[in-house]
């Protein structure tokens, strides 16, 4: 049933060379800009505006002027790179890779592929049907569906920029573990009958677009477009989030939050998840605030749990999935993932 894609124009080697050159120049400019931010932010705050180091306003402003360009640069650079990486994966290929895998190892595969396969929540339903219809077990399908939004590229980049690679790594590994375990649990619960009946009756007609093999020029163009799209969508939240964070940095006394968000307050993790689930998807605005809170005594586990609840479980996605899942399975999905996030929160509060 495969067919080759008709491409209107054949790429010339000359354009490919030029594309590489452009990307190279952009990379050098990016590096230069990245290294110039700190001196510029300090110069602007303490030099040009004449604010004193250590003053509330001075520290808040210096933080703001440094963090906004830093995060925006990081976001554009890394999302470009991530999109290039993702152009080597497609849902069709992922489905082929998952076909015939047993549960367990299948869940591990599905969760990992969930991170690298390009995915948007409006494709959740066709993807779900496509997976289930081709015989991939329900639990394995869920591992994929949980990992894809949970390990969110914007969140990953912002954690890296504001907390360092260790916290970004912890987030990545915890997200993967929750997706794998939640998928295994849902598989064990034998919930197939809570999938809407029409899904089982669908017989695919075949004729999917055969794996496209984009050229490097196409990959670069695509990466450039999605970078522009994502950055234009989140930059305002980044600016507002960092402004609020900067205010907290400068004005809230240290350890003010240790009592309510510290690791000794046992109820803070479930509370963070409860608040996080209905908040929709703005990892971009949430992370700077959360970083400032951590500086004032909030515990890492609580903070991570809050953030994961914000990105992994969102009302719009639940409404979309309701088309193919009966309420009982939706409730199980939300419940299992929430419990996983709470467990991760406690674990980090205990260990770190």
């Amino acid at each position: 049933m495969e067919q080759t894609l008709r491409t209107p124009s054949t790429p010339q080697p000359a354009t490919t060379g030029r594309a590489w050159l452009l990307v190279g120049i952009a990379a050098v400019a990016w590096l230069l800009a990245y290294n110039l931010i700190q001196p510029l932010a300090d110069g602007l705050t303490y030099g040009l505006l004449g604010l004193a180091r250590g003053s509330h306003l001075g520290d808040s402003l210096a933080f703001f002027f440094y963090d906004v360009p830093k995060i925006l640069l990081l976001l554009s650079g890394m999302i470009f790179a991530i999109t290039i990486l993702r152009s080597f994966f497609s849902p069709e290929r992922t489905r082929a890779l998952l076909g015939g895998r047993r549960e367990g190892i299948g869940n591990v595969f599905a969760a990992s592929l969930g991170i690298v396969t390009p995915f948007c929540s409006c494709s959740a339903v066709p993807l779900f049907i496509g997976f289930v219809e081709s015989g991939i077990p329900l639990g394995v399908t869920f591992s994929f569906l949980i990992a894809a939004p949970m390990v969110n590229e914007v969140a990953l980049v912002m954690l890296f920029g504001m907390f360092g690679w260790q916290v970004a790594g912890l987030y990545l590994i915890s997200g993967l573990s929750i997706a794998i375990l939640a998928g295994v649990v849902i598989g064990r619960l034998k919930m197939e009958r809570y999938v809407e009946d029409f899904v089982w009756q669908i017989k695919g007609g075949g004729g999917a677009v055969a794996g496209e093999h984009p050229t490097w020029t196409q990959r670069f163009t695509q990466a450039w477009e999605s970078t522009r799209e994502i950055v234009s969508k989140v930059w305002l939240y980044v600016v507002i989030g960092i402004a609020v964070g900067a205010g907290i940095h400068g004005y809230v006394p240290d350890d003010a939050l240790a009592g309510i968000m510290g690791s000794d307050a046992w109820w803070s993790v479930p509370a963070a998840v409860l608040i996080g689930v209905p908040l929709y998807s703005n990892a971009a605005g949430v992370i700077p605030v959360v970083q400032a809170l951590m500086d004032k005594g909030a515990a890492l586990g609580t903070v991570l749990a809050f953030m994961m609840a914000v990105v992994a479980l969102s009302l719009p996605e639940i409404i979309i999935l309701r088309r193919v899942l009966k309420p009982r399975l939706i409730a199980t999905f939300v419940g299992v993932v929430s419990l996983g996030i709470i467990a991760i929160g406690y674990l980090f509060n205990r260990v770190i």
Binding site: T7, C122, P126, G130, E133, G205, A208, V209, V324
Partner: protein, 78 residues
């Protein structure tokens, strides 16, 4: 006559694709029937796994991204 179907539940990209198809059809003076397919069961006739999808004369030509106008024009050529 060309039969064109835009597959997608109504997300931003699906609407963008539909608008582009209409523009290309109008610009080239083609006679085409443009349909919107929003039902998931129907979409599975073409094994669509990523929205949006574009079907020309019953063949899925692209899925999961919004192609540019030159590409669309290429698929619509008789």
């Amino acid at each position: 006559m060309l039969n064109i179907k835009v597959l997608g539940p109504g997300c931003a990209n699906c609407k963008r694709l539909e608008a582009m198809v209409q523009k290309v059809v109008a610009e080239r003076g083609l006679t085409a029937e443009i349909e919107k397919v929003t039902d998931y069961v129907q979409m599975m006739r073409w094994n669509l796994m990523k929205t949006p999808g574009l079907v020309v004369n019953d063949t899925l030509v692209v899925s999961g991204r919004v192609p540019n106008e030159t590409e669309i024009a290429g698929w619509l050529q008789p």
